[in-house]
Amino acid sequence: MSRVVRFEGLWCVFEHRSGQLVNALQDVTFDVQSGEFVCVVGRSGHGKTTLLRVLAGLQPPTAGQARLGDQVVEGPGADRAMVFQQDTVFPWLHVRENVEFGLRAMNVSDKEREKTTDRWLEAVGLTDFADSWPRELSGGMRKRVALASAMAVGSDVILMDEPFGSLDYFTRRNLHEVLLDLWKETKKTIFFVTHDIEEALILADRVILLAEGRLVDDIPVRLPRPRDEDVRASAPSVEITKTILAHLGITEEEATKV
């Protein structure tokens, strides 16, 4: 395994309208290995999304740097396709055109573009909806389109910012399976932001914990896959959950009270 992503002494400071300075990220340093499934977990407003946006090149850091391979990240690019929390499927393009958006932008030849698009449409189970308008799809299906669009550009690293946050429980579980299948098949590095500990335990090889913009723990998740209910109810899994809750300043009693 080789290192694909490195954060080095990353600081991100925002100025509030009141003039108050907010440290969204404070001296964050860690590496991500090739093919890893990393979940960044933390409370909302504690820097998870900022970290992801710095790596995506959508947010310049105040100090420090994010590196992709040997390259310092300086702007967005197709080598780190991203799936957003909000609905980003372009409503003016058909499903197929959405999936091939990145390929068209990069001037991929017609033949290859068609082949790649077909492959990813099939992978997310939307072959039959290739010629539909996004407005004709459900929220879960639109997320599949976004996933296929990100996968189709062929980057080794996929960034995901609470992508399934707005979906119902069943759709979310279903998409977890789709995502894990794709991950197993492609060996891509996935960098996944979530506030949902259960989701992190289902998906991740490794959990990065952020609190108030600081990296407070880096927990390897060595649980057997598939992470069904039994696995997640096992002692090691519960131990990880407890560790995470403790780090986030929530004891078990508190968590159940809230």
Binding site: P76, M82, R135, V153
Partner: protein
């Protein structure tokens, strides 16, 4: 590709047939070009029109026939649709009936006033009074006296010889229709050319400026300032500076529409959700590609209002310009009526203009819907019954609360 060939071919055909007709027998028509005016006679116009439509019928017979059939079916269905419309939306029709009947009632009650014609002319006065109403419009059909019409590009020779009066005094219906047709043509040609120019220029400029942030910052203030200038007050200045011909009005209308659309389009562009732009960028799209493929289509939905407002602005500018300084067009007809304090004629012109504006709105809206077929389709009207229902429920709840 074949479609481009088809349309280009039609354009070539349009001029080629005109050329061929001039060398054909006189039966098919004559034309000549003198002092910047194109003189056509009726047979030329008719032969040309037939040849013009023969092109699509010949090359795309099946499609043209299907379209004709669709139009025919639409016409045949009109009565049934009308009945259905009356049933589903009776208030719409009742409003119209009340307005029309009300006008007629007011015309009998209202004092006649000190003008030559009644202040509120009734419909019998407008349509059947030979001295007062619509028949006086025949006076606007006066091309026989060799009127100097520098803005008329096209004249129908045989028509020009048509008398506006018969037997000295009475006004003919034919001349009324010719007058309406001719002046409508003049107004519409000014409007269409000016509007098309303004729309294209406005969209292009409004979409181009925000691409360069420096340009956006520089142009924001001047454009908002320009927008505040009362264009109607600038009409006399426009006529001093540009003259009073087709070119001048086109520039004037185009300018007004352009300024309004640039501001509206820039607004629409800045309202495209960031998430679409960021998503495109992380999928590897360059800045230019993102602009063309994401920001431009993303700005479209907001341009509907701008487009409809531009149509309205185009109309008011055209009519006002004609009212103040032209000897042709519907605005001129209105001005002529005002000069004679002929209220009945004014009413007729107002109805005609209202009809054309509605048609413009309809066409612009239809064109726009074609452009944004991807948008969630809304039903045409706000469903007022839902709102009323909600309000009723709220009132009910309030009443219960007070009990």
């Amino acid at each position: 590709m074949s479609s481009i060939l088809f349309w280009a071919g039609w354009l070539v055909w349009f001029f080629a047939t005109a050329y061929a007709l001039t060398y054909g027998a006189d039966v098919f028509g004559r034309w000549r070009f003198e002092n910047g005016l194109l003189y056509l006679n009726w047979s030329f116009f008719i032969s040309w029109t037939i040849l013009f439509w023969a092109y699509p019928l010949g090359l795309r017979f099946r499609r043209s026939a299907a379209r004709l059939q669709r139009i025919g079916r639409g016409v045949a269905e009109t009565p049934r649709r009308l009945v259905k419309a009356v049933k589903t939306n009776p208030l719409f029709f009742i409003t119209w009936i009340v307005l029309l009947v009300g006008w007629q009632l007011v015309s009998t009650i209202a004092p006649r006033g000190t003008l030559e014609h009644p202040l509120v002319p009734g419909f019998e006065y407008i349509f059947f009074n030979l001295e007062g109403g619509i028949h006086r419009l025949a006076g606007n059909w006066d091309l026989t006296g060799g009127v100097n019409l520098p803005s008329v590009l096209l004249q129908f020779e045989e028509l020009a010889a048509f008398p506006s009066k018969e037997g000295g005094e009475s006004r003919t219906w034919t001349a009324v229709w010719l007058a309406l047709g001719f002046h409508s043509f003049m107004t519409l040609s000014r409007l269409v050319v000016g509007l098309a120019l303004g729309l294209v220029a406005g969209f292009v400029t409004g979409l181009a400026i925000p691409y360069w942030s420096a340009l956006r910052q520089i142009s924001w203030a001047p454009f908002n300032f320009l927008r505040m200038i009362p264009l109607l007050a600038a009409i006399p200045w426009m006529q001093f500076a540009l003259g009073a011909d087709l070119r001048a009005t086109t520039i004037f209308i185009g300018f007004g529409v352009w300024v309004m659309l640039v501001v509206a389009t820039m607004n629409a562009v800045s309202n495209v959700p960031d998430r679409y732009i960021e998503s495109a960028r992380t999928l590897g799209a360059s800045r230019l590609y993102t602009y063309l493929k994401v920001i431009v289509p993303g700005a479209m939905p907001e341009l509907r209002t701008a487009l409809l407002l531009a149509g309205g602005l185009g109309w008011s500018l055209t009519i006002a310009a004609e009212f103040l300084g032209f000897s042709t067009g519907l605005g001129f007809m209105a001005a002529a009526a005002v000069q004679e304090t002929n209220t009945a004629r004014l009413v007729v012109v107002a109805i005609v203009v209202a009809f054309y504006s509605l048609l413009t709105f309809y066409l612009l809206n239809k064109m726009f819907n074609g452009m944004v077929s991807w948008m969630p389709q809304r039903s045409t009207g706000t469903d007022i019954s839902k709102v009323a229902g909600a309000a009723g429920a709220a009132r009910g709840a309030e009443a219960r609360f007070q009990e």
